[in-house]
């Protein structure tokens, strides 16, 4: 029987939740990397036992962890006792160094600081790890300050795809309240040269040449919190999602507004429709129905909890605009948790499972595409990310 493996990143470690295809009985392992912030854990679709985790700490910086056995054991790639020819230790899995100008050696570009001055890029942490769809040793990392890195040796060394920061709009990017982070990486399953990324607070960007060159794709976004609401960049995109059968259709949860593009991001239109509030962080697509999408409305940008204290997932079966509240099994009073941008995922079993984690430490599952929900775990540390692997 097939099964599922849920990879949960929290403020104080990683947890792995496993079940068979019935999704009734769960085994919980963890905390892995206890006490460290785990921003994201994700498995390779080319080798499901290959997992990558972003482990970070305000004290000790960034560490990359890799598992080759589905999370039973972990290693820091290149962190063993081997040495480079010059005798220096080879442990560079946590080394993320931005490209500098090849002409001057100076920083490639600067970005806007909170006071309006220009500020150099400073690496802080990895928010998101996106393994290649075909090669378990190739992984993309979205980092803060916003940049995109790639490894092709299983996480041992990382190189920046500097065309993103360097394409020209970098000096207009600015950090949001959560920092200036590249948090979403979407690989197009039909076109290995195409990828999309999203940055807070810069917007969405697309590459059609494997990450070498990039362009902003923010036409149609409207953000009242920037001087020019329809500017080319500066939008606080919280998350974008696609369905692998229809990769030109993108769905976006922006700071405010839920948006849709039918042309790979060339233009966007609002699909917030009858949502009680169109602020939120997560958005995801049903595994088998490309027009069925999910969001979790959050009251506002100053009140990061569900409206009326009722935790509700909203589902649209029409690709947006028409939304229904999904409440069965979710707390409908006195609930003031948040659901962060990387904390929703779907499995691909016949009855699509939908999962999300909260800052209150619950991970909820719906095994019937959202009709009803049950907590898998209730008392983890604040959940930062949820990913699901559907296992053969």
């Amino acid at each position: 029987m097939s099964g599922v493996r849920v990879l949960v990143g929290t403020r104080k470690g990683a947890f792995i939740l496993t079940a068979d295809g019935k999704r009734k009985q769960w085994d919980v392992s963890g905390p892995h990397f206890a006490g460290w912030e785990i921003y994201h854990v994700k498995g390779s679709s080319a080798d499901p036992n290959r997992l990558y985790a972003s482990q970070s700490s305000g004290w000790f910086g960034q560490v990359i962890q890799r598992s080759c056995d589905g999370g039973k054991t972990w290693e820091t790639p290149g962190g063993g006792m081997t040495k480079t020819p010059d005798g220096m230790p080879a442990g560079e899995s946590n080394k993320f160094v931005y490209d500098a100008s090849p002409d001057t050696g100076k920083p490639l570009t600067t970005h806007q600081w909170y006071d309006g001055t220009q500020h150099p890029w400073e690496f802080k942490r990895v928010w998101h790890l996106e393994p290649s769809l075909t090669d378990p040793d190739t992984v993309y990392a979205g980092v803060e300050d916003a940049g995109l890195f790639r490894t092709s040796d299983g996480g041992t060394t990382w190189q920046e795809l500097a065309g993103l920061r360097g394409h020209g709009t970098g000096p207009k990017w600015q950090p949001g309240a959560g920092g200036m982070c590249l948090h979403t990486i979407l690989l197009d399953p039909s076109n290995p040269r195409r990828m999309h990324v999203a940055i807070s607070a810069a917007g969405a960007f697309r590459s059609d040449d494997g990450g070498t060159t990039w362009k902003p794709i923010n036409q149609g976004l409207r953000s009242q919190y920037i001087p020019d609401p329809t500017a080319e960049v500066g939008h606080c995109v919280h998350r974008i999602a696609l369905h692998r059968s229809r990769p030109k259709v993108l769905f976006m949860q922006k700071h405010w507004d839920v948006m849709r593009s039918d042309d790979a991001g060339e233009s966007w239109r609002e699909i917030s429709g009858n949502l009680p509030t169109d602020f939120g962080f997560v958005i995801d697509v049903h595994a088998h129905e490309p027009d069925t999408i999910y969001v979790v409305p959050i009251k506002s940008d100053s009140e990061h909890y569900p409206p009326e204290g009722k935790l509700r997932v909203y589902r649209s079966r029409t690709g947006g605009n028409e939304w229904e509240a999904l409440t069965k099994g979710l707390p409908q009073r006195d609930c003031y948790v948040n659901v962060l941008r990387d904390a929703m995922a779907v499995d691909s079993l016949d009855a699509c499972g939908v999962y999300f984690g909260t800052t209150g430490g619950q991970v909820y599952l719906s095994a019937d595409a959202g009709d009803s929900w049950t907590p898998i775990v209730r008392d983890l540390p604040a959940v930062l990310s949820v990913e699901v692997q559907t296992l053969p």
């Binding site: 990397f33 206890a34 006490g35 460290w36 700490s57 305000g58 004290w59 000790f60 910086g61 960034q62 560490v63 820091t76 290149g78 962190g79 063993g80 006792m81 081997t82 040495k83 005798g87 220096m88 230790p89 080879a90 442990g91 560079e92 899995s93 946590n94 080394k95 160094v97």
Partner: protein
């Protein structure tokens, strides 16, 4: 042998318990101890000092023999008791809640 005490998070990362014992060639300084530590435990590279600048991470300090050596020059000799292995060189994380 030089004795080094690591904070719990770094002991976990390096898969060690208790003190770390290091053979430090040449003069025993903070820089040479950290270099020997990173050579023996490469997974610690970048966690105590920056990969590129080798600057100490802001929330870490270095103690030995009941003295705060954090702001001593990195190439200054460590106390004789550390060199002799009588006292450990302590890498300490700042205390903070949460």
């Amino acid at each position: 042998m030089i004795r080094v005490v690591l904070p719990p998070h770094l002991r976990m990362l390096a898969h060690v318990r208790g003190e770390v014992m290091l053979d430090v060639p040449g003069q025993v300084t903070r820089a040479s101890v950290l270099a020997a530590l990173e050579a023996q435990y490469p997974m610690l590279r970048g966690t105590i000092r920056d990969h590129v600048t080798e600057q100490r991470r802001p929330f870490l300090r270095f103690f030995a023999c009941e003295r705060d050596l954090t702001h001593e020059p990195p190439d200054a000799p460590l106390p004789a008791a550390v060199v002799a292995g009588a006292e450990p060189f302590v890498v300490l994380g700042a205390i903070a809640g949460g």
